[in-house]
């Protein structure tokens, strides 16, 4: 019982996960399945971004590059070679190696570049990947992209849904452990006060690189899942929109909390789906991005801590009030 009380969030997560696991067996809707799969994928992506933004305090505008590397690796492997499980694993390995290498190099640059300079640099780096994907036509078919087949294990939508659900659960548990490990705690100290962390005797750069690599690799995995769910890849996976989505999801959900990233991903994807659905009613909904802009501005103005952050503050205040009351009772 005590465990339940101290781990409310985790308990809730597992209840929701169990519910989502059972969902395809009781309620059959292809559209909902696809939408939820999309949410799972972007949750992984948003959590990986949150590790940088919310936990380490690194602002990166180039997170799409890792996403794109994952998406293109799987696409190219599946297109060039037979879509078998073995090739899938090879693509996974290639993604892990590439994203780890790129994120290591990008992480190294945090030594010299702080805050917005770093953001600009990552922005231009991901732009570089975008241009490469456009111009290297023999490999990427340029802007048009290409379709590919996936291994038979991943063809069924329900199976794929369950696989994505398992992956998000695994990633969540892993990141929870990671952010609560001694190393993860130092990351949060870096976010709070980099110079002070340094003078406590921690090598800030090593930690930033570690966060950068973990985050990059996870984003790459999200990219693989994304491309496999569409069975199609084009240059849009490297675009600024992908990074902006992650930014929006983490900020709306609440930075510095893994739940926030997931809730944000869910909200944004649902809203996206709903708004494009409304496009039939009125042409303005074709431009759904306008609404996102408005929501974003409102959130930043009124809930700068995001949904989870605001909820936390409220419960924390209530607890404090209760504690004060208790004390008064004892005294009286």
């Amino acid at each position: 019982m005590k465990w339940l009380r101290t781990n409310k969030g985790t308990t809730l997560f597992w209840i929701v996960a169990a519910f989502l696991f059972l969902l395809p067996f009781v309620y059959e809707s292809r559209n909902l399945m696809i939408l939820l799969t999309q949410i799972f994928i972007f949750s992984v992506f948003a959590m990986s971004y949150d590790l940088l933004l919310g936990f380490t305090g690194i602002v990166s505008f180039g997170h799409a590059m890792f996403f794109g590397i994952g998406a293109y690796s799987i696409g190219i492997f599946m297109k060039r070679f037979e879509p078998t499980m073995l090739n899938f694993l090879l693509a996974l390995l290639a993604t892990l190696a590439l994203t780890a290498l790129v994120s290591f190099l990008v992480g190294l640059l945090t030594l010299r570049l702080k805050s917005h300079f770093y953001a600009m640099l990552t922005l231009s780096l991901s732009g570089l990947f975008l241009v490469a994907a456009e111009k290297w036509r023999s490999l990427t078919h340029g802007n048009d992209g290409f379709t590919f087949r996936v291994p038979e294990q991943f063809i069924d939508r329900t199976d794929y849904y369950l696989i994505c659900l398992l992956i998000i659960a695994a990633v969540f548990m892993m990141l929870k452990r990671f952010t609560n490990s001694p190393l993860g705690r130092v990351l949060q100290a870096i976010r709070e006060n980099e110079q002070r962390t340094e003078s406590l005797g921690f090598h800030v750069l090593h930690y930033k690189i570690a966060a950068s690599i973990v985050s990059g690799v996870l984003a790459g995995i999200a990219g693989i899942l994304y491309a496999m769910s569409l069975r199609f890849v084009n240059t849009s996976v490297f675009s600024m929109d992908i990074t902006l989505d992650a930014l929006l999801m983490t900020i709306i959900g609440g930075v510095g909390t893994l739940y926030g990233a997931m809730i944000g991903a869910g909200l944004i994807e649902f809203a996206h789906d709903w708004l494009t659905g409304l496009a039939k009613e009125h042409w303005i909904f074709e431009r759904w991005i306008i609404f996102f802009g408005i929501i974003y501005i409102l959130v930043v103005m009124f809930f700068p801590k995001g949904i989870v952050g605001t909820l936390r503050t409220i419960t924390w205040k209530r607890k404090k009030q209760q504690a004060v009351k208790k004390k008064e009772k004892l005294a009286g």
């Binding site: 452990r177 990671f178 609560n180 490990s181 001694p182 190393l183 993860g184 705690r185 130092v186 949060q188 100290a189 709070e192 006060n193 110079q195 002070r196 962390t197 340094e198 003078s199 406590l200 005797g201 921690f202 090598h203 090593h206 570690a210």
Partner: protein, 251 residues
Amino acid sequence: MAALIETNDLSITFGGHTAVDSVTLTVPEKHFKSIIGPNGAGKTTFFNLLSGQLTPTKGKIYYRGKDITAFSPTKRTRAGIGRSFQITNVFPNLTVLENVRLAVQSQAGVRYQMLFHYKKYRQFEKKAMEWLSLVLLDDKRDSLAANLAHGEKRKLEIAMLLALETEVLLLDEPTAGMSLEEVPVILEVIKRIKMQGDRTIILIEHKMDMILDLSDSVMVLFNGRLLADGTPEEIMKNETVQSAYLGGLYE
């Protein structure tokens, strides 16, 4: 007495302005040294040189006879020189306990462990609590550092410094910006540290009447130069010091 920290002809120049000008001093082990001097005398700059935030343009710093002039702040902390800052410098959105716990963790050398939960290292929390009670801050363990009063932040800062268990403590104006009521508490904390008797302390202070009875020796900086260095009594009697620094007070 063996010299723990030695500086030799230490100078730093910003543009044309020499902030610290050929300062040579020795601090023996387990010594309590105070640095006094008017505003802009280069006290904090001198500290920054000792702790590695700045690199000297000339001169050398030795720690236990080893040349540490080229060491980074991180390396110096690990070697045994810890410092507090004049401006309050804590982790604002972490709890008080977590602030100190991070310092304990660093001291224990647990740096890259990423597979276990931090609660596994319960002894860190226990140790952190000990430091907090030493600086009389144990009842605030769960507050966010940002919500502490100024004086409490300074105490937290000292607790973090103590938790590093460095041989040398560099305290940069621990009572800066404090109300008069808070000052005795900080002094009490410093007295307790001194009583433990296992640290070498170098302290910058403005309110010199308070530290005179604590210090083993006092050094006076003026315009970046070492004006005098001696026991508190000698400094009080020193005429150049009186005219340069204490002037108004003792005329």
